[in-house]
Amino acid sequence: MFAETTSVTMVGAEPRPVRVEAHVGGAKDVFKLSGLPDTAVREAKERVRAAVTSSSMSFPARHITVNLAPADLPKGGADYDLPIALGVLGAAGTIPARPIVALGELALDGTVRAGRGALGAAIVASRMGIPCLVADEVAPEAASVAGADVVPVRTLAEAVAVVSGEARRRSVEATRRIRPSVPDLADVRGQPLARRALEVAAAGGHHLFLHGPPGSGKSMLAQRLVGLLPTLSDEKALETACVWAAAGRIRGVDPTPPFRAPHHTASLAALIGGGTGTIVPGEISLATHGVLFLDELGEFPARSLDALRQPLEEGEVAIARRGMSVTLPAEVQLVAATNPCPCGYAGDRVQACQCSQTDIQRYRRRISGPLLDRFDLRVAVRRLTGDELQGPPGEPTAVVASRVEAARKRQTERGVLNRDLTRAQLDSQPIEPAAGQFLHRAVDRSGLTARGYDRIRRVARTLADLDEVDAIEERHVAEALALRGSW
């Protein structure tokens, strides 16, 4: 007798179905497991046998073969216990063989324990149009996937009863994320330049580089970028949720763009992704479709900063481990902050800087030119005076976000975010003759590099989008020049 259930494995952040094929035949009491299982999966045999007998059912004392397919995908962990048990019972004729997705570890007493891949299981189940059995604890997360038929089960006995149609299935409430209160831009007083830069960054998706003394509010500004960004589409929210699930974290299908702020002591693997055995997504992937904030950019090891460059360019990160290569999404908007010098007060009007010129140069050289090239916007943030701190609140997030949304809409129609405009695409952007001449004069004068020239054109495009005009005007080029900044 043969039966098949479906489980799931994560390849990077991509859930892939795994067929759990069970065959029961012959009289010999053997239990064989094939299909690249790791130790935890191989031990499933013992747990499944114990759980079945604890659930007042007889475990078939015959020749049992379970194969996990496709064989070339590595499978790890104890999450295959439940689909194996249901497959074996189906093949033995104890329960009807029905197409189901199941995921969860079995305790020896038959209790179903939460599995890491519940979200992935729900995605696979909804694609296949079949029910998905997962442990109670993770059912709400799984149920947040649109179109997933999620069945929460506490024990193997309950799972058996549901599959046999003997018990009523319990309903499950999807995780409803109360949208976490993203800090509002109204809290930022003064700082007209930084506010403007933040709006432009949000509108065009530009990477933003902030430099200024400690306490000037660089982190405060970075945190407020998330509120200015459009909410995520279902597809993007689901992709982000999958990355989080692959990292063993629950995020649910949340439309708020993620915000990640790893500390500079974070390891390369924590930042980019990696780990031994299964590949765990790094911060750059956890922040996908959202904001990655690197405070004290110069303090990050050069190795980490170098490793960031390619993912930033490509929007995804490729990680190779043990002959296996996985690609994870890394579609992030980068905000980086740094002090102007080791003591932090270079250029400050109140506090004197203690650093020598050599110290400052060495400090600034830590951020390599190629990395710095990724930032279309580089602005200085200044410490506020007492008067400014007492000043009126700034424009609230909602108002700025509506302008950002209009600018983003123009880019959606064009099919590309301004940050990602290639040189050829930039060349074909409409620009008023006077603006073009002005841009060329400015380039000739300042000896801009080709990259610098492209950066100015990208920002000018965003400024024109914020003004809701098609052709880039001279004022847009002029402002882009001022926002380019120097470091």
Partner: protein, 277 residues
């Protein structure tokens, strides 16, 4: 680059008259470039300058140059280099007095600065013949020429011991006015200047203050037409934010003006600060 290299000896018409006033004038000077005839001000200080000292030295060099006076210094790292650079910023003529032969650039990274000084109708001079290596023991002797060429000496930042204080002492002996920039009493690089003030040097509180004080010695500064900008500049080197705040207009519009002025080379925006170019 074509530069004139000349030797001027005492009694020659090209020999700086001020040097004849001092106790031990050099018998001859090797000169690369041309010695400007206008009154000169020495701006000196420690090689181990802080950002505070460097920016001040540069501002002062520029202000002195804009006022039409010559900036004299020693082409050393730190304050000297910043003062020379400021002088060039202000389009002025400057003199670098070396402690080695004029064919040797020391420190080597200041070669370009020295060449720009020569190109900017200034000069690099030395009392030592070409080929003389830079030796620390020659620098104090060189300092008497720095102060000797100048009507006044400004010490921007100096530790308790060092060349800048030697220059100040020599200047006082030569009857030159000595100015010093006050600083944090706990900071090593301000100890020398604070001591000078305690001992009678004139405190200067910035570039504008210096020009005002110097005008009493050197006469009124050359007037230059004030730069006309489409935004408010509270002071040279104000941050972009301060310019926006002072201009009071729409942020985007002020940024547009700044971008235009920068493109035309009328201002420079450096690490968030706006400088009149």
């Amino acid at each position: 680059m074509v530069t004139t290299v000349a030797i001027v000896s005492r009694g020659d018409p090209g020999y700086p008259a001020q040097l004849e006033e001092i106790a031990d004038p050099p018998d001859r000077l090797w000169v690369r470039g041309t010695l400007p005839p206008t009154p000169a001000v020495a701006i000196v200080g420690t090689r181990r300058a802080t950002r505070y000292g460097l920016s001040l030295a540069r501002e002062m060099g520029r202000a002195v140059a804009l006022a039409g006076w010559v900036v004299v210094s020693g082409l050393a790292r730190g304050v000297d280099g910043a003062a020379h650079r400021g002088c060039l910023d202000g389009g002025g003529a400057g003199i670098a007095v070396l402690g080695c032969g004029i064919d040797i650039w020391y420190p080597p990274e200041h070669q370009r600065l020295g060449e720009e000084l020569v190109a900017g109708e200034g000069a690099v001079v030395s009392e030592y013949p070409p080929g003389t290596r830079p030796e620390p023991w020659r620098f104090p002797a060189r300092n008497r020429i720095i102060s000797g060429l100048s009507a006044a000496v400004v010490v921007v930042e100096a530790a308790e011991k060092g060349g800048a204080l030697i220059t100040a002492r020599l200047a006082a002996e030569q009857g030159r006015d000595v100015f010093a920039v006050p600083g944090d009493v706990h900071r090593e690089t301000s100890l020398g200047t604070n001591l000078l003030i305690r001992d009678g040097a004139i405190p200067v509180l910035g570039a504008a203050d210096l020009v005002e004080a110097l005008s009493l010695i050197l006469g009124p500064p050359r007037t230059h037409t004030d730069v006309d900008l489409p935004f408010a500049m509270p002071y040279d080197g104000a941050t972009v934010e301060e310019v926006i705040a002072a201009s009071g207009g729409d942020t985007a519009e002020v940024l547009q003006s700044l971008g235009r002025m920068e493109a035309e080379g009328r201002v420079r925006i450096e690490a968030g600060q706006v400088f009149i170019a």
